[in-house]
């Protein structure tokens, strides 16, 4: 199998963002690119695809200036025949143009197979259902994040079909294409990807944090497994390196976890959320069965993990925000210990009794949750326990929770200069040191590489021993199903939209 090799340097205002001596891609293969968030996977991919702005960044590829690279035959072929599916679908669609127009402009104008691709991505829905989405202008909440992501994927597949003749020169990059999709839709996407790959053998890069894709590829697409390569981008001794990731690493870890026996202990209930919550004109209901036949209150117990599952866009984050008192619902009832919280509960009560004292929550995007302009040590200022936190205690907490001593000057570093993994750990630490009764984790494995995933799971298991109750929202079902007893798994459904 031929390969592409790149020596890439990317800097901004004199500060090096990415420097890698050898970034390899196998041609006519699916290159699954793994690695923690913020390490440079997207930046490197954008650079190779010729989509970085030379005015904003100082880029050198194989020793040449970026302008020279953009004029090279290779870059021209990549741009002409390839495509890039961006990570954040909301900002990558023109809000003043219908989805249909955007799906058919530029080099996609005469691209074939649109109907087939859309029907596949919409799980063989009736064409009229898909058509109704195409005539909307993309807004923050309509269509959903998953639908927008599928539109971007559809663009890529259309381009693949259109540039079949130039498959060997083309490069298709999918950056976190399944982040907003539930497992069923993710699998539909992967099916389409493999199907197109079989037809054209283009060079594909699939950037993802979802290690469970490995399980899917190995179990379902063994016929093309020799054309699927796993690479991990990691920082070693301060240098960026691309290593071959063996699927066995992940699969054997999962096997061990699956074999571990979870004894179900009946422990004290800390929180009970009654099953019907009305918000934004609709009712969210909770059940223990996937069909939602019998509604039951969601219970969080001491020393146990509760897992809330739902399709993408169903309202998982909304419901946990309601439980935290961040969103005022039209109707809800929750018992936290002996206290009752309803839609009438004043915000001050949440602030005085709950936030940072009884409950805390870790949001999925560390970049948004942390103040990027704060120093690491200032992240802990303002916490209810800030008076107890000196620098030594912070260092001890980092070492204890993540089994590694932070480097000198770490506390003085601004958050924005940390890696994605470091930010995520800091995000977790800020909540963990509060020693609350309940910890809510929203997509805690987002942006972590495999080594960190394993550590976070180990950390959660350790914290459980201290009696904390954990509520998890995650699309990494494969991983969390090994951590959670079946009776602690709940499903969220929305049952009807009321007119306002």
């Amino acid at each position: 199998m031929n390969g592409l090799k790149y020596n890439i340097r990317i800097a901004s205002e004199g500060r090096e963002l990415v420097a890698i001596d050898e970034f390899r891609l196998a041609k006519s293969a699916i290159n699954v690119l793994l690695g923690e968030s913020g390490i440079g996977k997207s930046l490197i991919s954008l650079a190779i695809a010729g989509l970085l702005d030379p005015d904003e960044l100082n880029v050198k590829i194989n020793g040449k200036s970026y302008t020279a690279y953009l004029r090279s035959r290779e870059a021209i072929d990549i741009r002409r025949s390839g495509f890039f599916v961006f990570q954040e679908p909301s900002s990558h669609l023109n809000p003043l143009s219908t989805l249909r127009t955007q799906l058919r402009e530029g080099s996609l104008t005469d691209a074939p197979d649109e109907e087939r691709i859309l029907r596949k991505l919409w799980q063989d829905s009736a064409l009229s259902d898909v058509e109704s989405i195409l005539d909307v202008y993309p807004k923050p909440y309509r269509p959903s994040g998953g639908e927008k992501q599928r539109i971007l994927a559809a663009m890529a597949f259309k381009k693949m079909a259109a540039s079949a003749a130039h498959a060997r020169e083309s490069l298709f990059i999918f950056d976190e294409p399944t982040g907003n999709l539930d497992n069923n839709l993710r699998n539909e996407f992967l099916d389409l990807l493999i199907e197109n790959f079989r037809n054209q053998e283009a060079t594909i890069v699939l950037i993802t944090h979802d290690y469970s894709i490995i399980s899917r590829f190995v179990s379902t697409y063994s016929a093309v497994s020799k054309n699927i390569l796993y690479r991990e981008l990691l920082l070693e001794h301060g240098k960026l390196r691309l290593r071959d990731f063996l699927p066995g690493e992940y699969l054997s870890w999962m096997e061990k976890r699956n074999k571990a026996i979870h004894t179900v202990k009946k422990t004290e209930t800390i929180l009970r959320l009654y099953p019907h919550v009305k918000v934004f004109g609709r009712t969210l209901s909770i059940s223990r069965d996937i069909e939602g036949r019998k509604h039951e209150p969601l219970v969080i117990r001491k020393g146990a993990v509760t897992y809330l599952k739902a399709p993408s866009g169903a309202g998982k984050t909304t419901i946990v925000k309601i439980m935290m008192g961040l969103i005022k619902p039209e109707k809800m009832s929750m018992e936290l210990g002996s206290e009752v919280y309803t839609e009438e509960t004043n915000r001050n009560v949440w602030a005085q009794n709950v936030w940072g004292k009884r409950m805390t929550m870790v949001f999925q995007h560390a970049d948004e949750s942390l103040n990027q302009n704060s120093k690491v040590k200032s992240v802990f200022s303002g916490l209810p326990i800030a008076g107890l936190m000196n620098e030594q205690k912070i260092v001890n907490s980092i070492s204890e929770l993540f089994e590694e001593e932070p480097s000198c000057g770490f506390l003085e570093t601004k958050v924005k200069y940390l890696s994605g993994g470091q930010k995520q750990r800091l995000n977790l630490l800020r909540s963990l040191i509060l020693h609350t009764d309940i910890l809510i984790l929203d997509e805690p494995l987002n942006g972590l590489d495999f080594a960190r995933v394993a550590k976070v799971i180990a950390m959660i298991e350790t914290k459980l021993k201290s009696g904390i109750g954990v509520l998890v929202i995650s699309h990494n079902e494969e991983v969390f199903d090994t951590l959670v007893a079946q009776e602690d798994v709940y499903y969220l459904h929305h049952t009807g939209v009321e007119s306002r």
């Binding site: 929550m361 995007h365 949750s369 990027q372």
Partner: protein, 295 residues
């Protein structure tokens, strides 16, 4: 024409990337050259008046910036806190008032302030020049502070759309700390400074304009001589007006160019100070936006 971008660490590329500092130096240099020219060719009393006028205008502009920041911060943060409170009446009232204030052109608001100042001067309640300048600054600040309040609200609203605020609330960090320190102090200083630079420019413009306008007098008992000397009322001075009028001689007598910058210096210097300062402040603000990537 060359189209490549200059790279590297040369002083030129540094200046190119810090256009706000470049224009600040240009402003100082331009005013410096004017000072030297006037020291050589402008008569001493007029030169003294020009310097006083410039310093008074600068002082008033600085006071406007301080007042606007204080008022704008207070109103912006108050509106946010009132919006989230249980009773919305306070929010409704303040929003309604600010909406009406926004609909009053700035010059009218400043004119009303000057009318009140005229009455206070006439009645002898205000005598000192310093107090007059502070009053003028306060009046202009009332006309422009909403821009600061809007910037503050936009910044708070932007961070509210992210997980930023919710994540900190969940960790027990107090909301007033989140707003004042985490959002405004740590993440919005550049935005606020840019807005204050723009406000400084607007205040110079409004000051000079209103001083010029009221040169006909708002009262027979109070006139320009009762107000402290500023660039605007220096320009409105009859001598200065004559100097500006002399510029139109250049259309019919181009040779007049050789004497105009010596003979008609008071008015031209005042006009140059005003126009050049407005231009430089605008370029500094623009350069600041580019350097800090605020756009």
């Amino acid at each position: 024409m060359a189209t490549r971008t200059l790279t590297g660490n040369s002083w030129l590329s540094i200046l190119n990337s810090k256009k706000d500092l470049l224009w600040l130096m240009t402003w100082i240099a331009g005013l410096g050259m004017l000072w030297i020219w006037d020291a050589l060719f402008l008569n001493a009393p007029a030169f003294a008046r020009l310097q006083t006028a410039f310093l008074n205008s600068l002082f008033t502009g600085a006071m406007v910036v301080l007042f606007s920041l204080a008022l704008g911060w207070f109103v912006g943060v108050s509106l946010h806190l009132l919006e989230n409170s249980k009773s919305k009446v306070g929010f409704a009232v303040i929003s309604f008032i600010t909406d009406i204030l926004r609909s009053i052109p700035q010059i009218i608001a400043v004119l009303i302030g000057y009318i009140i100042l005229t009455v206070l001067l006439y009645q002898g309640i205000i005598r000192s020049s310093f107090v007059q300048l502070v009053w003028i600054a306060g009046t202009i600040a009332v006309a422009v502070f909403l821009e600061v309040a809007d910037t503050i609200r936009h910044r708070i609203d932007y961070f509210r759309t992210l997980d930023f605020v919710d994540a900190m609330l969940c960790c027990g960090i107090k909301e007033r700390r989140i707003i004042n320190i985490e959002i405004l102090w740590k993440n919005s200083r550049s935005h606020l400074l840019h807005k204050l630079i723009a406000i400084f420019g607007v205040s110079i413009f409004l000051q000079c304009s209103i001083d010029f306008i009221i040169s006909v007098g708002l009262s027979t008992d109070v006139s320009l001589i009762n107000f402290p000397t500023t660039l605007g009322n220096l320009l409105a001075n009859v001598d200065s007006k004559q100097d500006i009028l002399a510029l139109s001689n250049l259309f019919t007598e181009p040779g007049y160019l050789s004497v105009i910058f010596v003979r008609h210096l008071q008015g031209l210097s005042a006009a140059f100070c005003i126009v050049f300062s407005l231009l430089c402040i605008y370029m500094i603000a623009n350069g600041y936006v580019r350097r800090h990537k605020l756009a």
